[in-house]
C-alpha cells in the first residue's frame, strides 16, 4: 500500500487549503492563475508528477491551492511548485 505523507494530513486537518481542480483533463487558465503560474508550467508540472508516480495522463488528480497534487484517495503525489522551481 502506498505510504501516506504526514504533511498532507497536517494541511488538510488544519483546513487551510482548498481544492481548486478535481476534474478530468487538463486544468483551465483559472487554475494556473490561482497558483500564480503560467498554464504551460502547470500542465508540465502535472505531467511530470503523474509520470513520476506511474500514472497515465487520463488519471484524475486533485490540485490544491498550495500547489499540492493528490490522487483520488487523497494521497500526496507531488507539488506543482516543486516541478517549476
Amino acid at each position: 500500500m502506498r505510504g501516506k505523507d504526514a504533511r498532507y494530513f497536517h494541511v488538510a486537518e488544519a483546513g487551510m487549503t482548498s481544492i481548486i481542480w478535481s476534474n478530468p483533463g487538463n486544468p483551465t487558465n483559472e487554475v494556473s492563475r490561482a497558483l500564480g503560474v503560467e498554464r504551460w508550467q502547470l500542465r508540465r508540472a502535472l505531467h511530470r508528477i503523474k509520470q513520476g508516480q506511474g500514472l497515465a495522463g487520463a488519471d484524475r488528480v486533485t490540485i490544491w491551492n498550495d500547489g499540492s497534487v493528490t490522487d483520488e484517495h487523497g494521497i500526496v503525489l507531488g507539488n506543482v511548485y516543486d516541478e517549476i522551481s
Binding site: G3, N26, R43, R44, Q51, G54, A56, V76
Partner: protein
C-alpha cells in the same frame, strides 16, 4: 553541472536545461522493478527512480513520499534543448538502439528479459504545449515503430493556450 541526490536507491536528478514546452519521458514501472538494473542496461542515470515502498524526496514542498510501485523515469528535457518533439523521441530511441548492432540486440534483449521476468512495463509520454491555433507535432513513424518494438506504449499530452 548535473547533480544527483541519492536517498537509499532513489534518484532525483536536477535539471541542467531550462524547463521546456516540449519533452518526452521514458518510464519503466513495476512492483519488482530494481532501478539499478535498468540503469545498468541503458547506461544512463534516470531523472527519477525508486523501488516500491521506498521513501524518496519529491521536492521541498511535497517532502518525502513512498513509491507505490517501482519507477525508473528519464525526462528528455534534462538532456535535449529543442522545440522539436521528434528530437526528444530520437534521444529516447538512441538510448535503446544506439551503438553497434550487436550491442543493440544485447540492450534490447536485456530490457525485454528484465521486463518479462519482473513484470515491468515501459511507457513513453510526449508533452507539448503550443500557442493558440498552433498545430500539434506529428510523431515520426520510425520512433513509434522502435518504441512499440520494446514494447512501450506511447501517450501524447498535447494542448494549446
Amino acid at each position: 553541472m548535473n547533480t544527483v541526490l541519492s536517498l537509499a536507491t532513489s534518484t532525483t536528478r536536477s535539471r541542467k536545461i531550462a524547463p521546456q514546452k516540449v519533452f518526452a519521458t521514458l518510464r519503466f514501472s513495476g512492483d519488482r522493478l530494481d532501478p539499478d538494473r535498468i540503469s545498468d542496461i541503458l547506461r544512463v542515470q534516470p531523472t527519477k527512480s525508486y523501488r516500491k515502498g521506498e521513501r524518496y524526496f519529491a521536492g521541498p514542498r511535497a517532502g518525502h513520499l513512498a513509491g507505490h510501485t517501482g519507477i525508473w523515469l528519464l525526462a528528455t528535457d534534462d538532456f535535449v534543448a529543442s522545440a522539436d518533439l521528434n528530437r526528444h523521441l530520437g534521444y529516447l530511441t538512441s538510448l535503446i538502439f544506439r551503438g553497434a548492432a550487436d550491442h543493440n540486440k544485447d540492450r534490447l534483449a536485456g530490457l525485454r528479459e528484465l521486463m518479462a521476468r519482473d513484470g515491468i512495463t515501459a511507457h513513453v509520454s510526449c508533452f507539448w504545449h503550443g500557442e493558440p491555433g498552433e498545430q500539434p507535432p506529428s510523431i515520426l513513424p520510425e520512433a513509434t515503430v522502435k518504441l512499440r518494438d520494446l514494447p512501450a506504449d506511447i501517450e501524447t499530452d498535447f494542448d494549446t493556450d
